[in-house]
Amino acid sequence: MFFKLISRNSRRNRKENGLLFSSLLVSIIAFYIILALPRQDVMVFLQEMESVAVSKLMTLIPVFYGMALFILFFLIYYASKFQLERRRHEFGVYLMMGMRRVKLFAMLLAEDFRNSILSLAVGLPIAVLLSELVSLVTARLVGIGIVGHQVSFSLHAVWWTAMGFLLIKLTAFLLLSGRISRQEIGSLLTETPDGVKRQLPPLCYAISSLIGILCLAAAYAMAIKGSAWQGIRNMGLTVLLGLLGTFSFFWGLRFLMGLAVRSGRSDRRLHVFNFRQIQETVIHRSGALAVCSLLILSALCCFGAGVAISRFYGESEQHVLDYTFQTTENMHSGADIRQTLAEHHLDTRFSDLFEMKVGHINTSDDTRNAFRMEPVMNALRDMPSSADRDVLLNNLQFTTYPYLISLSSYNRVLTAADMPVLELGTDEAAVYIDSSFTTNGRTRILNEVFRSRPETVLDGNPLFLTGTVQTTKLVTDRTITLSFALILPDDVFERYTQGSYSVYLNGILAQDMARDTSLMSAISEMNSALDGTGLSYESYLQNMGRQLFYMVAASYITIYLAIIFLLIANTVIGVQFLMGQQKSGRRYRTLIRLGAPYRTLCRSARKQIRWYFGIPTVVAVFSSLFGVRALLTGFLSYNAKEDLPEMMLVSAAMILALCVIEYIYVAAVKHSSDRYLLSLIVPEREE
């Protein structure tokens, strides 16, 4: 009989409390996905490319797992709390009939365990499938055909998922059942709304909301201006102000709610009742609401920053070159490298192989004055003041000994990139700045300066700067990145370098090579062939790998956290509303007796739900406008900050995603509430 009861109860729990069951599934999936991360295709691929960075990231996985355990504990705790609260009456009856508390505890534990095992049985296959899907989708998105898909299933991940899940489930259960079992039978049998809380004069609450708003405004200002990032103290102060502001705003919110009760026409259907209900929840749960709002804010910030950062790093520079070979002690020149390639029959695999020549001004030892460009500096000083101009003025005053690039080799790069070649006279030079050292704004300013063909002095000879600033990469990845260089016609280049310069051999893979398989696998295959030749080289894979790493690391972790935060915040809000509603069931019964039709009650409850979800969400969205910007100010370099319209687009997408999630939650809670109200419509005999 006892076991039959357990089985029947646990089945009913699953049916009646979809919220709890789905929370359980979410936790399981979240645990598994983070634990199976090292087995994902992208990670396996990155392990080869950026093994150090990836290993560092992987050592963080236990930390993330621990964090997920901690955060998801609250999700489970609240969902289970709702579950137990709604069965209070039933427990009271069991105890009244003489069931011993130990036995009640055993029964609940058995029910809980049964449901946990069932959740694992359902959740783990879903988690494995989802993880596999994520692995395939990301692999497809980033275009790796290299590794060939590996099944990401990991027994280790399954084991730790189950352990972690059971651990938090048991902890939540022990805490909750401890609380329930300590209560008197009488209080279990009656459902009473939370008692009346002692109220302070309304002025206190008004001042509290005002202080909250002021603190928040100060935190927003510090965050946006970037002063928050100037040190741990400033950051701490900003966060503290934000937290304090949010909590005191929510604590004082009852004042605004009180105003809402009094404002508006009280004869609007159940207007006063609705706002008193909302006010009550605000009074009793202002802390929880503030925490939920902060969680939603964190989710939005994580999401926004993650998407923005991954977009920034994912924005690949134009892909022109596949390989760059470097000269070494054994390979003195480009010809040596070509010969080695030919010996291994690898030269035919390239559609183009050309030398990139970069050297110093060897005709002068005076590194402080070899190159002077006063007219450029003067022209800059004459320009309207701006941050970009000041940066240029500061940086360019140190460019007295620039690198030199040969025009013909640079033109080969331009040809490969399908760009028009440069034509320079013997007394002309073009300026090269690697894209990581400039921004669109600064390039624009310099282009304007160069339009007037300013005259500079290179080793005592006049040199006119012309054309636009060149930023196309000289080599495949990072062998050389130049902050300022002059592109000179070949004979002038030879004269200044006196024939002594570095040579890099750039290679582009033949089209038919790359067409057969994906480019990535072509490069990967080539790499293994090249490893036997003793050549020193870098390939596009490294470039790609680094970008991928940033993209994957940033987007995986932030989006993962964002989703978990959102789920928890919404579950807590939803559960609290439903619990509050059940506790005030008597009020709804009175309304029914006073003649409130079912539809009016549902409308009233729905309105409360919208407000209850709306308040923390709106506060969070408002804060996130500043929060995301602050994160971007702190994390991103100047390049990314210019793309404000694009960032706005990201924010819009983010808010849309939030709306969808909120909508789903609100709809689920409304459904639960409607069902509960329907159950009240049937009159009960009260003696």
């Binding site: 004869d267 159940l270 006063v272 309304l591 003649g595 409130a596």
Partner: protein
């Protein structure tokens, strides 16, 4: 009046349209109550009947004033129309000084009088009272019954009350006894010859004779 389970509250609930009778029909002012639907039903509940509960059933998070105005907001009646009536009722029921208080700050008698004002606010044709004195001490019960009787006397408000309490019943003009869902006895107070005390004694006597159930029907 009638013993527990005799069907008193069920009858009230049927009249209040809280539950639907399995068979038979209820006619109020010439209208079939169970045939009402939609707006007509809402109107009936809001304007033709008022309900008074044993446990007052005031919403504890609303002030007395808000509780009294609750039926207005439920049935979409503009507040202005009833403000005068509220003032009159509050004065009559002596609850003026508790209007801004929450139920937890009121005594039982005050709560029930606020509940009475709520039941009366829309000036219903009939008040359905389900053991209104059940949760009150004798002094408060007496005060409430005097107020209700006064309403009946002065405003011609019909009050249909369910009670076990012979004292409360002695304020009535007509008493129906119900058992197993059937009305089987009736007492009428002859006014003005019979005093309340005499009627009370008559009720006690009838109750004593009815005590044994249907086997002892007069």
């Amino acid at each position: 009046m009638g013993s527990s389970g005799s069907g008193k509250s069920t009858l009230l609930n049927c009249i209040a349209t809280v539950i639907h009778p399995g068979s038979g029909s209820i006619t109020m002012n010439g209208r079939q109550v169970q045939a009402l639907k939609g707006a007509a039903l809402a109107d009936y509940r809001g304007k033709e009947i008022g309900y008074l509960f044993q446990n007052f059933e005031l919403l504890d998070n609303l002030t007395g004033y808000e509780n009294i105005l609750l039926p207005l907001s439920l049935h979409g009646v503009p507040e202005k129309e009833s403000r005068k009536r509220l003032e009159k009722l509050a004065a009559y029921l002596e609850i003026k000084d508790v209007l801004q208080k929450f139920p937890s700050q009121m005594s039982g008698g005050q709560k029930q009088r606020v509940a009475a004002a709520r039941a009366l606010i829309l000036n219903p044709g009939i008040i359905l009272a389900d053991e209104p004195t059940g949760a009150l001490d004798s002094r408060n019960a007496k005060a409430l019954m005097e107020k209700l009787a006064g309403l009946n006397r002065n405003s011609n408000t019909t009050i249909l009350m369910v009670t076990h309490d012979c004292n409360a019943a002695s304020y009535c003009k007509r008493i129906l006894f119900i058992q197993d869902g059937m009305i089987f006895h009736e007492l009428r107070r002859s006014i003005p010859e019979e005093s309340q005390q005499e009627f009370y004694e008559r009720i006690l006597k009838a109750m004593a004779q009815l005590g044994g159930g249907s086997a002892n029907v007069l």
